[in-house]
Assembly symmetry: C2
Homo-oligomer: 115 residues x 2
């Protein structure tokens, strides 16, 4: 049923393993990763809600396979981070790491006029 608001308070549950947190990639890779409408929508959605979100929480007109591909691109560029939590993959924006390597880049992109 609609049992949300789970917050994973079940102890003894050790499934929360961090998924390969890669270093932030070079500029071209990051720009290429962000130069896609779907991925930019993902990033914008992540930015507006400052918590970890499962993949299914992004309302995008693509299949799960395609969504998984985009998450991989963003993850390998070091832009996002994913953490397994039960059957979900909680995604967070690696804002601090991004800001450290490319100061102002993410801000200027997120502040860009959404079309």
């Amino acid at each position: 049923m609609g049992g949300l608001t789970e917050t994973a308070t079940h102890e003894g549950h050790v499934g929360a393993v961090d998924l390969e947190p890669r270093p932030v990639a070079d500029v071209t890779t990051v720009l290429q990763a962000l130069g896609d409408p779907m991925r930019l929508a993902i990033i914008g959605s992540l930015d507006r809600s400052d918590g970890a979100r499962p993949c299914g929480a992004f309302d995008l007109p693509v299949t799960k396979a395609t969504l998984s591909h985009h998450f991989r691109v963003l993850r390998e560029a070091g832009i996002i981070q994913q953490r397994c939590e039960g059957t979900r993959r909680m995604t967070t924006l690696r804002r601090a790491e991004l800001d450290a390597v490319y100061p102002g880049l993410l801000d200027s992109i997120l502040r860009a006029p959404r079309s």
Copy 2:
């Protein structure tokens, strides 16, 4: 403003026809245009020398045809501007227009660690 808004370097030079100055494109297009090593090198080179430069002045390991292609992509994204001057095409970075639409974007990219 930066005070860089000069529209007429040499007055009355007949052949100096402006080449379709397009408006700055949407974020994805701009990011995609900048998300390429060659084009990023072009932009960086343009940034370091704050004058108009002919296409041949960019020392890049590609043929003229490929270079022309990259210039077109940048031009159509509204990032650069080209002006015919005799047989040369003087290229300038449209910094003011870019900054107006996406404040801080170009700066953060140009300030990024060059690899």
